[in-house]
Symmetry: C2
Subunit: 239 residues, 2 copies
DNA sequence: GCGACCGGGTGACAGCCATCACTCGGTGTA
DNA sequence: TACACCGAGTGATGGCTGTCACCCGGTCGC
């Protein structure tokens, strides 16, 4: 039966077919069923705001499918995309555990299925189930790890070109498709969004991508980017 | 009895007088004694390298006293000081949990007492003791929280002056001493180190501090900084 | 068909700041 | 005493990139 937004909905965690591939969700049957009693499953359209930076933590979201962008912004209105969260990730865990305001905003950039767990239920879940607590600690470690990568990139890159090259290389590693002519990428972000990921302006992203094209390092056709000289990008990166 | 480096040594966690004030260590007697059986207490001089970025994780360090700087560096040799760790913090937990290389280097900047726990022992400790796991999750949440602050500062600040102003304000909040003439700070870092904290050069730090002094926003006497116009600093910060 | 809007491309220009090159004072060491 | 070394202060310079301005093509709604 077709579902809204063309998502493959799993209302039931126990029957979820992708669960074994999800570091957090891949827990013993008893733990999963305990989780099931406290979660609220929801399907959200693209552009849904899950939570906003500064808001008191209501609870956590488990991203079953679809992706979400995590952003932070200055009082001047400048926006920084901290990370694109992938399916399987737990969002808002650190703020929920500490009881401090969410440190970022989360917004779906695709139709997404999410499980929400209220703060009190989540905290009780962690204290009573050691497996859940351990998996949460792993999730938090992953988050810290990727935050640390972001800090390196923002703080150590010498030029904006280097940041952009690094971003492209990261994409190649994560979901690049090897072809005879190079690595093919689907980039579903606008120049504006890319700029917000590396802390620069749209114009600069446009110019840098043009330069990469001119130097035959990459080739752009619509939303497809073909990285022809991966080594050239790697040479620009010292971090 | 005087101890090396003038530290107040607590070989025994159960008898440790500062434990109640330490979010991680403040656990039930049974958990503390379990921790005691697997920890190795050591006293380290200033400048000790606890672990190095990229190294496979040997285990975690609990910082009992003294401070340590966490750094990451580029292949070009540029160094970024990610954070100054304070007493009570757990270092290396995320890498140890994930089994991935340490994401930063840790070096003591004062004589320090540390408890080391080997990776296998730590993982077993977490899985068998739910209180330990919960406290570790809290520590990881704190780490993620502060990493997120760093990302904001590095990615959203418009100018270097803004970053420096924000750093000074952070110091005022953390360990500033209110006096009639302003907030007094002890800054035990060189201009070079301050530069490494905000991702700029020593010369720029010198110039900006001179400018702040000229504008009577701060006053510097040796390692003492007196912040006379906190509001002026706050006005420069949009993040 | 027409206008609004959005994403993208480009030129001109200014300003911040990294870089290089000195100087200077204080401290420790031969 | 002389010297090396380190942290700090400062001037000159060039380049990157943020900002502003404008144009273009495609899409959508009316």
């Amino acid at each position: 039966m077709p579902s809204p937004y063309n998502l493959d909905i799993h209302n039931n965690c126990s029957d979820c077919t992708v669960r074994p591939n999800r570091p957090f969700c891949n827990m013993s049957p008893s733990t999963v069923s305990a989780l099931e009693t406290i979660k609220f499953t929801g399907v959200y359209p693209k552009g849904s705001l899950l939570f906003v930076e500064g808001e008191q933590p209501r609870g956590i979201f488990i991203l079953c499918s679809g992706r979400a962008k995590l952003t932070t912004s200055s009082t001047e209105g400048k926006v920084l995309i901290v990370r694109i969260a992938e399916p399987g990730e737990v969002l808002g865990a650190s703020a929920t555990i500490l009881g401090k305001p969410y440190e970022v905003s989360a917004e779906t950039i695709e139709p997404a299925q999410l499980n929400f767990v209220k703060r009190d239920d989540f905290l009780k879940f962690l204290t009573t189930d050691s497996e859940a607590c351990m998996h949460t600690a792993q999730q938090l470690s992953e988050k810290y790890h990727s935050a640390q990568r972001e800090i390196r990139s923002l703080g150590l890159a010498q030029t904006t070109g280097e940041k952009l090259a690094k971003l492209l290389l990261d994409w190649c590693d994560r979901d690049g498709e090897e072809t005879p002519k190079g690595v093919r990428l689907k980039v579903l972000l606008t120049h504006e969004e890319i700029a917000q990921m590396i802390g620069t302006t749209r114009e600069t992203v446009t110019r840098l991508l043009s330069e990469f094209k001119r130097r035959k390092v990459i080739d752009v056709k619509g939303s497809t980017v073909n990285v022809m000289q991966r080594e050239a990008l790697a040479e620009m990166v010292s971090i």
